[in-house]
Amino acid sequence: MNSYKHTDIQQTDLFLQHQCSLVACGQGVKRGERVAISLLPGKGDIHSPVGGKVSYVDAYRITIVAENNDVVAPVNLDGLPGDDLKRKLLELGGDIPDADSVSTVIINGVDADTDVLTRQHMLTSSSGTLERGLAAITVLYTPRETVLATLPGIQLSLPEVLRSIISDQYPAGLDPMVVKAVTGKESPEDTVIIGLETVYHLGRIMETGLPVLDTILTVNGRGKTVPIGMPVGELLRLEGDHVLDQDRIVLGGVMRGTAAVMVSQGVDRTVSAVSIVRNPTPVAMDAACVGCGECVRRCPARLDPAMLTNYAEFGMYDKAAKEHVNACFECGLCGYFCIARRPMLQYIRLAKNELAVAQRQIEEVVTS
């Protein structure tokens, strides 16, 4: 089966990270009704994938049980000017990175992780939707040029975009690396990079006038259209895979993806792949750095991950900031090569998160 329908969902758990729930327990919701708003600028809101009833809500999760087929009414988006369109699209679950005076928009059509082929599949299967998405992006950013970055050897028929060919060697397909490959500069100011799935989602909104309700992801080595909110366990079951006790369900590629916490967790629009990983032991251990230097030599951001993680481990986040922890683009290579098998990326994310929280608190104090 190449696509699944929302009718395959009986119950779903929507996970909240930087969103605030809008619904209460027992409340009835329509399919496409907004259930949480994003707290981050440039990130779209979250909508119910089915018509039904909210059965559980807390700060991290909304559970919805499917009951009916009621759908919200489509919105007419034609001819809206840039700012209004942006507001509407964010409300409908589109992601629109914040940026002013953009001269180059780069669309990242490269699946960085070797076992993911979602973007590749979108390029070959959904050019109509992508065209609608690209048109919206042109209205939103009014860029001087739009460049589409892809792997070599992909045929496509998108007019009005320049092509740029990116190597399939990890981590060449990650956003900062692609920006550098296209512009020749590291983090140039007037450039914004957008993932192809975001273009696809915007295209779907423009086509239907409805919130983002489906996405494309890789499962079992093939690109599939899957309704957002589809429980990962259910998806794998329909695919004929049996999830066993102690398995890891990885959402995204193996280098950067997160592990699902429960089988009923619904896929969200950032998930590029769903797969089961069955390692006998967890990859990472609580171990001290042995100073081998592998991570230092492999880091594409030219950081010293050993130093960063040591600082993070002992709570010295200010030192980590001085070591440019925020320049890390979370490729995961340091953890992949660490011979002591330290949870490198976790430490780095911890430091980044603590620094961001501290920054927000400072801003709150300053503004109040």
Partner: protein, 316 residues
């Protein structure tokens, strides 16, 4: 409605795959790379060499276990590092070393060179060299390779160079040096075996080629320069390269993980410095084989070399 079976999922952080090279794996490869030289040592020096190697490794392992006990931490003995430290120290000792010297050296390597700095990775020095230095300074007469090996019909070319001048080593056959026909640290002088193991480590990327390359280059350049200035008193670069523990130091000691720099340029500079120091100590110092002290000195400069680093990605 279909009930999803309650399952316990493993939740862990990315990456969800690992290169497979772990500390234990790397230490095992180091031991493997030392095997040819160890076998040659037994062939040349007989059982005494086997005795020193076994005793040194056993002491290292037991010392680490005892330290773990006292420090109340889970033992990492299974990572095989203690074996590597023990064997490296044995490689630097004469085959005739008395048992108490081996035990003291090996225990000191582990205690002072490793455990005092916490788990593996904390020490600023290459551990076996710490034990070696303590023994060399405390009991020079027993570490003195010429005196202890009077019973064997081989010569210690570096000591002869030091004591009797260039003429006494002038006819040293480089090929027999390669085959280990010289006195010195029992494993370090098995040049062919050391070279074999070293090349294996570099090819399989278990050590970065820049450090050994730096050491060898440093030795060749400095001794070549001295040779050009005063050819009557200084030995040839090749002589320095193939005698004593130059190559063992270059491939196995200077590349010690925590005590060497991590980036390319610092690694090369570190290697060069060690190489230059080897020749300086050999030529002007009182120690015939300058390698251990040269590498210990270079270790001191590691934090300074490590300051040479590129700007992070996208920093303006």
């Amino acid at each position: 409605m279909k009930q999803l079976t309650p399952l316990i999922l493993t939740v862990s952080v990315p990456p969800h795959r690992h290169s497979g090279v772990t500390v234990r794996n790397r230490m095992f490869k180091l031991l493997l790379a030392m095997t040819p030289a160890a076998i040659m040592a037994v062939l040349f020096f007989g059982m005494p060499a086997a005795r020193v190697m076994a005793l040194s490794m056993a002491t290292a392992v037991f010392t680490e276990l005892i330290c773990d006990k006292f420090m109340e931490r889970d033992s990492d003995i299974h990572d095989l590092n203690a074996f590597v430290v023990g064997l490296s120290l044995a490689f630097l000792l004469p085959a005739s070393a008395p048992w108490w010297l081996v035990v003291t050296g090996s225990a000191a390597s582990i205690i002072v060179g490793k455990m005092m700095f916490g788990p593996l990775g904390g020490s600023p020095f290459c551990a076996p060299l710490v034990g070696w230095a303590i023994c060399r300074i405390s009991w020079p007469e027993f570490m003195d390779i010429d005196a202890t090996m009077l019973s064997i019909d081989l010569s210690y070319p570096l000591a002869r160079l030091q004591n009797f001048g260039l003429a006494s080593v002038g006819n040293t056959d480089l090929f027999s040096l390669l085959l280990g026909k010289q006195l010195g640290g029992l494993g370090a002088v098995q040049i062919l075996g050391v070279l074999l193991g070293g090349i294996y480590l570099v090819v399989r990327k278990h050590v970065h080629y820049l450090i050994p390359a730096g050491v060898i280059l440093g030795v060749l350049l400095t001794s070549g320069l001295l040779c050009m200035v005063d050819p009557t008193n200084n030995a040839s670069p090749l002589f320095h390269l193939l005698t004593g523990s130059t190559l063992f130091g270059a491939f196995f000691l200077a590349t010690d993980m925590p005590s060497s720099p991590n980036r390319e340029i610092p690694m090369l500079l570190f290697g060069l410095l060690a190489g230059v120091l080897i020749i300086i100590i050999r030529t002007y110092g009182i120690y015939p084989d300058g390698v251990p002290f040269a590498i210990l000195l270079a270790n001191l400069f590691t934090p300074i070399f490590d300051r040479i680093r590129p700007e992070p990605f996208g920093k303006r």
